[in-house]
Symmetry: C2
Subunit: 597 residues, 2 copies
């Protein structure tokens, strides 16, 4: 039941048939990622995920982490799995070649990351957070700091962490109080407490490189007085060897609903006079330095939603095929597998069609990341970046909401057995619950979509997206199979609904920003649902073409069209209602009287 | 944070202002339940729930139950709380006076039950299951068995259990294999294994009376060969004293996602030759005998959904008022309580407006229960029974879905703290997860609504419901305040959507029952959403009248109208999309190819 099968066929469909890999492979410098090379890498990564990471998912949940004398012990198997992961070179897939990385395009790195996360969400957070730290150092650290830390972080000898949150500073990082005192030698002494530090302490690497937000003594209050520091667990000597233990320690780990095997640490800095740290980037610009990597981090958490949805789908499907119960309501046949029951089938289709929709959207955005970086034409780069910026909150929030809805359905399909921990379905539910919260809650993503994206450019990037969608809808209308082309009116209708929803939100926002913010999340859901329809439209066009071209895998392509049909009737059907909420429901939130709660 | 405040104001609004108590108080034999008497009882029960049961909710979750040598030890405080509950007479509120009960009308017993369940869901299952057993014995047992068991079950000295499920017989009870061998003395020897037996073994009562489904040696296969037996843990002597230990024992308890303090037992019958049992009702009609109490049991679980939604709402609201984070997006004020953030407000309103909608519907159905039993006019009784039968699957499934959505929002409002077990928000999420599963999954409820209710009478009872709704919509259109009457078109529209949805489902079902079953759950959701709109319509009319009459509590009534407005824009807005799914989406489920999963 705990098996994981990498969904390579579905990935190949998106990358190859839907053209996202090809879009990237034509970019300057990306010629090496042919389909053959890409799928060879995916296959290797999938084998590793299934064989090494997936089997530890349940045992890691049961065992959890232990803290004793400021030392965190990860569950059995963790150290070996990490060593194998590192030796296989997976820690360096996305780092630059200058520091030992493989610099893989995002369109290739994305499915790899999805598989590791599906196989073992709690494990995958270790390299994920490391990569966050690598990325921040890459973008803002001095050459000296880069050379000191990056090679060993990219080869996985050391890991990295992100230290942002404090008890009074959660979503509002302006409230950070950790202090940094400048020293005569140019270093700083850091003191303060950080909470919710993922893998803040663990036993899988020789050293842990903490990136820490703190305030200089003369810093202005609020977000403009926060600086970023690098604080290693062990100081690093000039020759790269490890020196003294730094004044930072893990003082407790959280007892969480899920991801038990991922230690969530309370970190104490400076109990013995101050932890030695170095400034990364410019003073007082720490938040900016962190936010340049925000798109990457949010994208990765969006992928986690897809990953856990896929894992719980696989488990629910296996159960639905095995579990014998009741009779077929149509044929009357007795003692059938429950996948024959229409509502079980409906739930599986809801899981599969939404998971694949979110995956297609995420991979589409991954391709835009690559275009924004590598396209020869500046205007094309700018447009791709605008689409990335617009869609990141959707990928983050909508995919993780889908993840949460999927794990709920995964439990439901198991019936009473789903409520029993041994079954394993409940673990996915517990693990997934953090995904709509960390790296910015769904509400924060919606605020970002509305305030920083939609309102700031007056809806220009939304228009760009809608224009892209409409071209794809035209292609769908011209698709070779009639059942494919028949979906085009529904897609156009959904796109139209999104356009109207965006317009009404802008109008509301001009008159009453409070009211607009009250429907920001429904608008984000509307955007997600319509983006899913868009991707299923593209998928249908691609599938129809493959069938017309006489593919030997026609059954697969037909099933994609059937999934698209299901998505339109069962998911995209909610778009008009969401648009109605967006148009009408804002003032009912903002004007609700306090004493009415 | 773990406090519980009985929502007496909201209950009073439903019972008194909306008229549901009055509808019952005019029935023959129900004259005693004046408003004064009723609210005195509610206040007492609320005090008990808040003071005695609510404080044990967290500790019970943490401690859980232990099994050693077939003996289950409940968490600290459980035995005392149960003793106090019994001594206060709460075990007998619904039993008949003949056996020591108080025979309270369902419209009064319902809010009591809700409060106990809100205060401590795991605890409340002990009296709930007992009442199920009492109800089954009342309806079908011989006079001798009734006198032997009921007085001590109703006064709470003994508890009762329901033993239906076996590993191969979950939703399909026709697969039950437990055997019952007739003995010369008229008794039976029961042998077999039952699973998922709530409070199958515990230390709070002197004796436990098990109701057990089993097969006689000559029984036909399937559902028509199952009989119902009563099997006490300790045999009961002729004088009512306890005799020998019966051959039934708890061999393990489940490690569950939630309701840790409620022991879920695997029960072994007949390991030493057979447990002594007696036939209840007629041979081979055990399922029928169980199903006469099904409406009661499903109604109670529906109430659990409302109860846990209320509890998690109260906790989230308290947190949202306390937690300081960020700034007010409109006024710019810094360091505000998060209830000032529009999306937090929206989530609280979603929780509150849906919870109250489900509560209003459940109480409306409770009044129909009472009318079906006590109304002087046979036709009125029949109509009320038809409405009860139609709406029970909606109360069960829709309220528990709302419960699950609410606990999700409850965690979300807590942000990162919601994921930490100490906060307590996650417990509600874990506890609630069983509610859409036990006592018939949401899928089974939808099957019941479609197959046994809608299709069987060709939509007659749905028409009856819609007629009732339309009369209430007319009353709303004539309500005194313009903002109240302004909701009437939206209500009529929602009712119309339900009528069309029901019609299209019937048409689909005539052509292709498999396709109809594929959208049975969306139809159930549609029914729930529209029933909620109906109840908010009635609430708005009642609130408008109270304001016009010059109530001193006008703020409360205005907040009810504001909640109704929110519900229409944010919840009822989904009705048309659901109806579209019902009309179009069935064949996409039934025709989906097996190899496509």
């Amino acid at each position: 039941m705990a098996d994981y099968t990498p969904p390579l066929r579905d990935m190949r469909f998106i990358l190859e048939d839907m053209g996202y890999l090809g879009e990237v492979a034509v970019l300057p410098g990306q010629e090496e990622i042919t389909a053959d090379v890409t799928f060879a890498i995916l296959e290797e990564a999938g084998k590793f995920a299934a064989a090494m990471l997936a089997p530890l998912n349940r045992s890691g949940d049961r065992e959890g982490c232990r803290l004793q004398n400021n030392v965190v012990t990860t569950p059995k198997g963790w150290k070996d799995a990490y060593a194998a992961y590192r030796e296989a070179g997976w820690t360096g897939v996305a780092g630059p070649q200058e520091f030992g990385g493989q610099n893989l395009a995002k369109i290739v790195a994305t499915p790899l990351q999805e598989m590791w996360q599906s196989a073992n969400l709690a494990f995958s957070l270790l390299p994920l957070l490391s990569f966050g730290a690598i990325d921040a150092l890459l973008r803002t650290a001095s050459t000296e700091l880069k050379h000191k830390y990056l090679p060993k972080m990219i080869d996985g000898t050391w890991s990295g962490t992100m230290n942002l949150t404090e008890p009074q500073a959660g979503s509002d990082l302006g409230a950070v109080r950790t202090r940094a005192e400048p020293q005569p030698d140019g270093s700083y002494r850091i003191s303060g407490q950080k909470i919710f530090i993922t893998y803040g302490e663990h036993d899988c690497t020789e050293n842990i490189i903490h990136l820490v937000l703190a305030r200089l003594p003369d810093a202005p209050p609020g977000v403009k007085g926060i600086s970023l520091f690098v604080v290693p667990k062990f100081l690093v000597n000039a020759d790269g060897s490890l020196g003294a233990r730094n004044d930072v320690k893990c003082v407790s780990i959280e007892h969480k609903l899920g991801i038990h095997a991922s230690p969530t640490c309370v970190m104490a800095y400076g109990d013995e006079g101050g932890a030695v740290g170095h400034l990364v980037g410019s003073a007082n610009r720490g938040l900016e330095h962190m936010f340049v990597m925000m798109n990457e981090a949010r994208f990765s958490v969006g992928l986690q939603g897809i990953a856990v949805a896929e894992r719980s789908y696989q488990q629910a499907l296996a159960y639905a095929r095995e579990r014998i119960q009741g009779h077929d309501a149509v044929s009357g046949e007795h003692d059938v597998a429950i996948i024959r029951h229409p509502d079980v089938r409906r739930m599986l289709l809801l899981m599969k069609s939404r998971t694949q929709a979110a995956r297609m959207l995420a991979y589409a955005v991954a391709a835009q990341f690559d275009r924004a970086l590598h396209h020869a034409d500046a205007e094309a780069r700018k447009q791709s970046q605008a689409l990335v910026d617009l869609l990141i909150p959707v990928v983050k929030a909508w995919s993780t909401e889908i993840g949460n809805e999927s794990v709920q359905l995964g439990v439901q399909i198991h019936g009473g057995m789903g409520f029993i921990e041994e079954t394993g379905a409940a673990q996915h539910l517990r693990d997934a619950r953090i995904l709509t919260i960390y790296e910015g809650t769904t509400g924060i993503q919606a605020l970002d979509l509305l305030g920083r994206k939609l309102a700031r450019d007056g809806g220009e990037s939304l228009k760009l997206l809608i224009g892209t969608m409409l071209r794809d809808a035209e292609a769908l209308a011209a698709a070779p199979l009639p059942e494919a082309a028949a979906l085009a009116p529904a897609l156009k209708n959904a796109i139209d609904t999104l356009g109207k929803g965006g317009h009404s939100l802008l109008v509301t926002g001009m008159g009453n920003m409070g009211a607009a913010l009250g429907v920001a999340v429904p608008f984000l859901h509307l955007t997600g649902v319509v983006c899913g329809a868009w991707q299923w439209g593209r998928a249908t066009t691609a599938a129809a073409k493959a069938i017309q071209a006489g593919s030997t895998d026609a059954d697969y392509y037909r099933s994609q069209i059937a999934l698209a049909q299901f998505y339109f009737s069962h998911v995209a059907s909610s778009a008009a209602g969401l648009a109605q909420t967006v148009a009408q429901g804002g003032s009912e939130v903002s004007a609700f009287p306090d004493q009415g709660f």
